[in-house]
Assembly symmetry: D3
Homo-oligomer: 334 residues x 6
């Protein structure tokens, strides 16, 4: 495989241990995350060659973030340093009927001042085979949106695959920009759509329901509207409560609809980054397997992520395929 | 709302982390608790104005206890200092078929020497609207019983609401006093009874069963025997094992019987103080809502408490009502 | 009861906390374990008189291991010191569909160089009533196999009971020795067989299935082949995933087949050493109760072990029998 | 004493344990600080009646900050909530020849958007006797400067004492404002100057040296320039390295020059907030003692702060005066 | 050597980590201690055969205490179980000019109800060679005093050595008993006096100074008053502050006065139990070496104890004698 | 600079926190180390381009080691995987007069089976400018010695600089090989000698004293015996005790003798790897500065390393040169 390029904010995540709240203990743990970075690290853990592009703070926190990314073998050579601080998010992990809560401190972060002039896309995409983006990045700032757009434009010119996870979080779009317009612009450069009916409705302005037939029809309309998109993959989560989820996936690749079985996650360890694990599994899988197996791989990867603390999926290809092989009883590996 | 007054022992709780036993690790965590304090702190977390009356040790442990109470915004101005040490309890948290275990060191604690002369009830109840008591306090010592009795007497004279949680723990009554007699005396000043058939049988000397009809009949007889009591609320716990409980509640308010649905607590984090969370929810709820909604609020508060470490319910009103609104799938809050 | 003797390697177990991987945190916890030691410590926790025979490193790690064994009241006077390091195993605890993983560093450990000349069996068995062995020990080295064989031989001469847990782990047998031959030789000195159809198939070279009838027939053939064996006990685990198991047991004692009910372990805390907890329960139980009750005791002990961190069952007899009495709802013990 | 009012930013401090760097461990501890809050909490620990005025984030981090302030008995009723995040600072604690390092994330914090309209100074100063300010606040933003100026103006009108710690940190002044001008404006409302020759040179534009004579002359000129200033107190730190400091103080009160002996801090635990501990000691001391004893008290308080982790001096009056009594050998207190 | 017998209370020590106060963190560590137990464990660490006699609580805390004692190889067979809780002490570790602080919760502990009928001294002293006592035990309760007196009486009858560390802590003597009288009675059965001029003044009612000549004269008078006493050993601590001490010792054995050099403890880790380490070193040393070398050994043992957390000296004989050999530069041992 | 190549074992270091012993707490921390790796990581932290060559275990411990090395930006592409476990060392950190203690488990480690066929030196040295070796590697095994010899031979052919730190630890040489002979062979390919009189005496069989004149004469004789050696650098440690060291350095470069001032390390945090920090400082310095400034840089780097936990120097060039500039008072860096 050539290089997979991810572009997005790196966030410092700080959370109390277990299910504690900050008010209960002054000892906390940190990890680094950020939706696109999570995808990149997971692909690197699968053995992929990954470069992450971002901006971090020019201090010991930024250096620690860089070290964290290097630790997982991801190329940090296109990450620039900024005088602004690294974005932070605080997390309190819920349980059962108590939801997890997140509070962000990212609006004036190192990444928020990124601009097209700060990223040399020509260089960055030199050995690239695939670019992945999400809807978080264009929401953060005008500069982030424009920088991403430049990158995707070039990626398409060079014929790279472009996967889009256009997650729409309305609270994030604080600058003057119509989200639908921006996402549409970016989807014009994309080949793989990772999202469900909600995301399609958002960009098309439609009102599809959640049944499989709705999904298929929505996917078809999406492909009509954005002809570069070849395949649509949708991850479906069923939550009993904060601690017990089920995960399955479905797809429409222009000709076939397929669906996986539910994977039962009876004891969620950490729910953050599970969508990113799905995307990473898909990107890796589509380069190795057929569409359905890629989706199965992504679905198992997503389920596995629920068992790791932190934002990042630590599973290897062997660990994911083991589950595909039906090995879900957790038998001890010596 | 006027001020809610709680009166009772403050205990230092010490426990190993997770499901460890003391024999396994010399690193432990502490919280403070005590059934009436738990009620007070939870009401304060709901935004109520709460004063807790107690006696703590005149050392750095007592100061830490005071700081803990202040942290949650509860008024500590009526807490006195004692030369005796603060009561302590040690907890080993069980799991599945292993029960949690508690060992107390409280028989000669700071609170155990409390006497009527040490509490200025006139002052303490000045802005009071509600007094809450439990069956633990009169069991601890003659002085504690008599001090409580004085307070309740005055509370009734002033027309305050008085809620009673007459939990009967036979092992606690070590001084010369018939528990039934003492609890009856205190119920004569009470308006809300928080307890079930067991507690009613204990004070009436009856033998009612656990069906709803039994509960209604028992409540009626209780109200006959203690005419100040207006309402009876009963929390019902169904335990699969230490780690999996269900909670519901029922009530008889003199005219209506109502019952809530079970809330399924599939992964118990900490079971201590859940009854206190119910009482706190009820006291808060009865001042804001009708009887049934108050009970629903209390039941959801109780269920939520199972997801927090420590003795105290940390939930806000918004978090509790969110569950009443049917929001129990634990969707991440950003 | 006379003394129970266990013989086997003592291992240092090192694992990150909770479900973390080593790559995630540089803070880890350690316990000591080793299958036969686990059995010995559990029996000591039941009040039995236990001696463990082994070799540990002559350094502060070996001294810490000795202290750990003494802590549980097990006699360490027959443990010798070696210039080689103590064996280590690293554990990453899985969850749900992620299996736990173990990596060993034991091939040149203190115990690996044990030889018949290093253990004075005559002394060691002086007050002995029962010797327990497992299939791990003969797999480790020729010296370990021969030393064990000498001990069992003498134990039989003296009329001690000998329980065998001939767990077969093919990866362990690295020296020149046919496992089946060695295990058979050792079974010739054994009176209680703790194992199921797999283990019987392994030593007999048969191919029995897993139904109860298969188990009975297999047990009968085993007793024919090894006439000293009087009873066969089989623990059956049903795993939904890494975090949710069920445990039951069955037996054939030459005349009767019996089977226990499943115990549902909905939230596994630590799965390591649960088989050893079963063996310990059985050895203790067979000296106190009839065969069926011993098996029930062993089964409950095994289930309880899933709720303790570390390799060792910390349950007391009272805690186990409490479960036998049907008390599995985890009601708080004050 | 009447109420002491402090006004300034509340910061979340996050640091690895011991002398670790963030790159070494993902487990960190947090405290809250902020120079004026540190002063307020220390005075509250001395038994003073303190109100802190600030703005914190309207999330669980802000709530934790409020709880932290309440814990120490400081009045939080004038703290407002903001949609912006709480300011954060990251700290790596040095040792010996390695300096501690701090990185801030505060430029767009909750406090940074404070404005005169957000603080009701009339209310806030109602029971006030003393206001304390530092040079950090006017540096943070125009709004912070103007809000402080309003408060000081009113304080002077009401005849309150005003202590100034005009610490000048050039890196902080990022908005359009001449620091010297702003500090001078604020000194016009101040009665006690806590600072040394550096700070005087900064506001006067002079170039005094560090000898006692220089200090006296500088103080005289300061009082000429700012006639409301009655006394000048200067804390002098002699650092062997990060881990070994000596502290003494000197003063000029218009008539007398006095100087204390060095206190030898051979093993620094935490150097942060030691200047604030000096200021707090002084403010408390000047209300209880004569000038020289107040300075001695402040100097001992400052020295003691070096022995507490976190930003805040936890010493009581008894603990400080114990040192004044010559009791510096650290004899165990039972 | 025969068995050394120690008799005294076992205390649970709970303290925050490092130099934190309880108000700062809810994570704390525990150890077990008690002056006589500390002596016993240290002697056991030197290879001695030690039995500790006490009473502990009949709960999981008492079981943990027993396990702790067994861990160090000390015989627990004469420890009885009590319905009362184990004594507890809370410790905040000071630094530099901040003293450490201790708060006790022991007045109604398991040990406080000990009485002569609860200890079978005949059995307990069966293999005894030496009994050690301190002034803490007779201060705790009448029963403790009388039980100790019985034991010492029998020890003298059997000709055992008896070492006395008559530490006088006036705050402890709360029952009706003249301390001087009680200590004198117990000294009548003692052969080795571990204490200095203060302790001698206390029992003789004299007023000696601290110079060596005073010490010699005081010792002579002590031996006149208590003719069984053969030797007096005095440990002298010079404290710069809480974190920096120097230790030396002096002796009078009836004929010779000797004195050791100061050992410089530049970075105190834990000061608790250092006197007990001296006593243990002495008891061990007097059985192996001449008086002066025994004192040197004790002095080095005492100095080493300052480098271990917890109440107990963990040093081996090899580690102590290494220092006697002049090896105090702390060169790494591989 | 071209690439610096280090070759040697990677060890997992496990140690209790602070000054605890393993017997005191089951919570421990780990880092990775190994003398040559330590040098490599430090140079990478200075901004150098470094490749480390080694063999690690093919399990999650080996993967964690690789991640650790990558985290610091060191090239791991020439590290091979082995079926053997990673070498481990256990460390108990002493204090004051208590020495730190180390116990190794490395004799059958992944690295111990390295052989010339496993390292492609031609590839590895492709961009090389400097190779660093120490006396630990040839001591570990015949294969390690021979592999190193091949590498050095090639390095000399290619004209790379070769620095030698021929630390001699007699306990390590367990295979059939004369240490003096092996070290001499390797010195024949070396250009920089990092060591003192002891190391020179060891390889020359001489008996020089420790004075500067001895050092100069010894260096001259060394250069006669090994004509490729151009410069000799000697780090001198003066230890008051485990917690207080002084560091200085001296050199002979064939023409000049120079010596640095002592750097006073009054509070040692971690003494491990300080020699490696000196070597790393020298290798970096000699490529940037003249000989004397390189030695000063190395000396300051060595002193700084005493303030970081773990085996590795985390200091940057800026932090080291700051000290060279005389900035040793540890003033806070904001």
């Amino acid at each position: 495989m050539g290089q997979i390029i991810t572009f997005g904010e790196v966030l410092l995540r700080i959370s109390p241990r277990g299910n504690k709240k900050f008010i209960q203990s002054n000892i906390v743990e940190f990890y680094f995350g950020g939706t696109e970075l999570n995808v990149g690290i997971s692909i690197s853990n699968f053995g992929g060659n990954v470069k992450h592009i971002s901006a971090v703070s020019d201090d010991f926190i930024g250096e620690t973030a860089m070290a964290y990314i290097r630790k997982f073998g991801v190329d940090t050579s296109s990450i620039t340093l900024s005088k602004r601080p690294l974005g932070v998010y605080f997390l309190e992990v819920g349980a059962v009927i108590r939801p997890s809560m997140i509070s962000y401190n990212r609006s004036h972060s190192a990444f928020s001042e990124i601009e097209p002039t700060k990223v040399n896309w020509e260089n960055a995409l030199q050995n690239g085979e695939w670019v992945h983006w999400t809807g978080i990045t264009p929401a953060l700032s005008k500069g982030a949106y424009e920088t991403l757009r430049e990158g995707l434009k070039l990626a398409r010119q060079k014929g790279l695959a472009v996967s889009a996870d256009p997650t729409y979080r309305s609270g994030l779009w604080k600058y003057e920009q119509d989200p639908k317009e921006a996402l549409s612009e970016l989807l014009n450069y994309s080949t793989i759509f990772i999202g469900g009916v909600n995301e399609i409705n958002e960009v098309l302005g439609t009102d599809f329901g959640y049944e499989n037939d709705d999904f298929i029809e929505a996917s078809k309309q999406l492909m009509l509207a954005f002809p570069t998109i070849e395949k649509v993959f949708d991850k479906i989560r069923t939550s009993l409560n904060s601690s017990w989820h089920k995960i399955r996936a479905r797809m429409w690749n222009g000709t076939d609809f397929r669906e996986t079985e539910d994977l039962d996650i009876t004891h969620v360890v950490d729910r953050i980054g599970t969508g990113d694990a799905f995307a990473a599994g898909l990107i890796y899988g589509l380069q190795k397997y057929d569409d359905y197996k890629a989706m199965e791989f992504a679905s198992a990867a997503c389920a596995l992520k629920h068992t790791y603390e932190g934002d990042v999926n630590l599973a290897t290809v062997k660990e994911v395929t083991n589950i595909l092989g039906g090995n879900i009883t957790g038998r001890l590996v010596r």
